[in-house]
């Protein structure tokens, strides 16, 4: 039986708009083998509730997400990591947060739990007190060979970036193995959302990863609206998309500049920084917040476009559009810069496929997946912009995808402004409960939100999955064989979120 039909044979649970099927432990245990035989079913996320494990897949043939669940009898469930490497970190997280063990898992080392919380399994039905011992030393995967040595980096890094530990195994100048150890920023975000109304919990989705505050806020709001069967006013939909495209523009500008800066080429960094500052000031003028945090709420948007907002945005976009071609020519015509980015940090398309990488990381390695078009959502069904795909897989390919998206986003934002519908920007949330899922394309890739509301409209189960979950492991693959000095360049070309995966 194929993996899709195995999942569809499970009892439907009434989740919207993507159905969730409840499988018995026996049927679930056949899933890894079926998945191994069927590479077109991509694993998007794996998470849990007390006594229950959920998985979100993307049926790439049908272009639709598909959810499956299994009760974890005796706290155990069959691991998916033997068939889907992207499941490894989710399984480690599920054990740390919910105390459920994946049987047959590839890796069972702790992930988020560093032994420093007052409790073990903080999201399980009955968290146990943490034994008062010294926090354990982390164990890293080994690398063997002549002259291999280790470089430990972090959690506090040299730049103004988020904390995480990188363990390099080095032979001469060359990275033999990189392993990231994250979880330093674990804030207990999911547990803080439980028992709150979607309106009250939206602040946490907005702060899952600040650079993607609009995308995660939108995904969370769309999941709540799907659960409650609420239609959002057209003006709010258009304003959400406008904010999401502005967020994409300011992040793409930022990272393009930083990639050049990490190759010691400062001019594009300075110019991108100035253009980005213009975009952020336009966001402040239009929506009252530079990053547009807390502007997307379940039911609509918190603030309508300010009267002079459209003019401010158009002026910032014009500046971006005017300068990007010239910056691209400078980027392309300097051999010292091209030498650093071309061929560096090559991500094998096979790896991108195996981990179902989304965003520019996947699209720069030939994976044509953009949640705006698959599964697709309003208003992009009407806008239909082109999808930028590159086959190179290196730092340069990721930059090129982002610069192409930058241009597309400028065009999209203009159209959204020109065709902005009139009317309300917020609809009241109806009473009642339900279960909803949403996929929203942020600048990094697809942001997934899932939630289950009880009949009183309060959150009983929730999961927010940043695209970085599936991209971080690929950074480890892409850096292999590169020199240590190129790590910042490779890292910035991925720019994975730490906070987004540390939860």
């Amino acid at each position: 039986m194929s993996a899709v039909s195995l999942i569809r044979a499970g009892a439907p649970q009434g989740a919207r708009p993507f159905e969730r099927h409840l499988l018995g432990p026996e049927a679930w245990s056949r899933l890894p083998q079926a998945l191994a035989a069927d590479p077109s079913l991509a694993l998007l996320a794996l998470w849990a509730e007390p006594g229950m494990v959920h998985a979100a897949f993307l049926d790439e043939a049908a272009g639709a997400p598909l959810l499956a669940s299994v009760p974890a009898e005796g706290g155990r469930y069959a691991a998916l990591s033997p068939a889907r490497p992207g499941a490894i970190r989710f399984e480690r997280m599920i054990r740390d947060l919910w105390g459920l063990v994946a049987e047959g898992a590839v890796d069972l080392r702790p992930w988020l739990d560093h032994g420093r919380w007052p409790v073990m399994g903080p999201m399980s039905a009955s968290p146990a007190p943490m034994p008062g011992a010294e926090p354990p030393q982390p164990a890293f995967l080994p690398a063997e060979g002549e002259g291999i040595h280790q470089i430990p980096v972090g959690p506090i890094h040299a730049g103004v970036i988020e904390p995480g530990h990188f363990r390099f195994h080095i032979q001469g100048e060359v990275v033999v193995r990189l392993e990231a150890r994250l979880g330093y920023k674990h804030k207990g975000t999911l547990s803080l959302m439980l028992g709150k109304s979607p309106r009250a919990a939206a602040a946490f989705a907005a702060r899952l990863s600040g650079d993607s505050t609009v995308a995660h806020g939108w995904a969370f709001a769309a999941a709540a609206e799907a659960a409650l069967g609420l239609a959002v006013p057209p003006r709010a939909v258009a304003l959400r998309a406008l904010m999401a495209e502005l967020e994409r523009i300011h992040n793409h500008l930022n990272d393009w500049g930083f990639v050049c800066n990490d190759a010691a080429f400062a001019f594009p960094h300075a110019r991108c920084g100035l253009l980005r500052e213009g975009v952020l000031r336009a966001c402040q003028a239009a929506f009252g917040h530079r990053l547009m945090m807390d502007r997307v709420l379940p039911g609509g948007v918190a603030t309508d476009l300010a009267p002079d907002g459209a003019a401010a945005i158009l002026a910032a976009l014009a500046a971006v559009e005017a300068e990007v071609p010239a910056l691209m020519r400078i980027y392309e015509s300097h051999a010292s810069l091209q030498d650093r980015v071309v061929g560096t940090g090559f991500l094998d398309p096979a790896h991108a496929q195996a981990f179902a990488a989304g965003g520019f990381v996947g699209r720069a390695s030939g994976r044509r997946f953009d949640a705006r078009f698959m599964p697709g959502y309003a208003p992009y069904d009407l806008l239909a912009p082109p999808v930028a795909v590159e086959a190179g897989g290196d730092v340069d390919a990721r930059v090129r995808v982002r610069v192409a998206e930058l241009r597309n986003s400028v065009m999209l934002a203009r159209r959204l402004l020109a065709e902005l519908p009139e009317g309300a920007t917020m609809a009241p949330l109806p009473e009642g409960g339900g279960e909803g899922t949403a996929l929203i394309e942020g600048f990094r890739g697809e942001c997934l939100a899932w939630m289950r509301l009880d009949d009183g409209g309060l959150i009983r189960g929730v999961f927010l999955r940043d695209p970085s979950w599936l991209q971080w492991p690929l950074l480890e693959a892409a850096i292999e064989g590169n020199i240590v000095a190129d790590f910042p360049l490779c890292n910035k070309s991925f720019n994975c979120s730490y906070s987004g995966v540390d939860l």
Partner: protein, 177 residues
């Protein structure tokens, strides 16, 4: 071509915004905390080590923006350094995550005295929306001795600059009398 652009930029007027003023009451409060010897040693320039103790990365975006050409932090004698060993200021963002507490303490131990600890952003001030979590100690003050709070979610570059300039002004205070 890059060179003509650089040449034009040399002749154009600066892109940098005018300086903001530091709030007088903050300057006075900070000056009181600073011993005369420390004042002499810190002088009119500060090296800043940014430490993220668990932010959502919104604060990092705005701290990074301080270094763009519009704010140009270095014109004030303020600069970011790569190690706490070179720093006069620890600029801490985010709630004090339990998983980061040891790294925060070690960063402080590496920072030579006299030094300032600045908690930037609502999470750093008191834990913000994350203060009730099992995974945080609350604000940065629960782990490190904080001298200056800069609220905001995230604080804008102008607000961050105001706070950092207050540190500089506090060091200059007695000379004005």
């Amino acid at each position: 071509m890059l060179w003509p652009r650089l040449a034009r930029a040399l002749l154009a007027k600066p892109l940098t915004d005018p300086a903001v003023a530091a709030p007088a009451e903050t300057v006075a409060a900070l000056a009181e905390r600073l011993a005369a010897t420390a004042r002499a040693r810190l002088g009119r320039s500060l090296a800043i080590r940014e430490v993220d103790s668990g932010s959502c990365n919104g604060c990092e975006l705005e701290v990074n923006a301080l270094q763009n050409v519009a704010y140009d932090l270095e014109r004030f004698g303020l600069r970011f350094v790569a190690s706490p060993k070179h720093a006069d200021v620890l600029l801490v963002t985010g709630p004090a995550c339990r998983n980061m507490a040891e790294a925060m303490e070690r960063a402080l131990a590496c920072t030579p005295e006299p030094r300032w600890v600045v908690a930037a952003g609502d999470c750093a001030v008191d834990g913000g929306v994350f203060k009730a979590s099992y995974a945080t100690h609350g604000g940065v003050g629960a782990v490190l001795p904080v001298d200056l709070l800069i609220p905001g979610c995230p604080p804008s570059p102008a607000q961050l600059l105001e706070g950092l300039l207050a540190l500089l002004e506090a060091e200059a205070e007695p000379r004005k009398k």
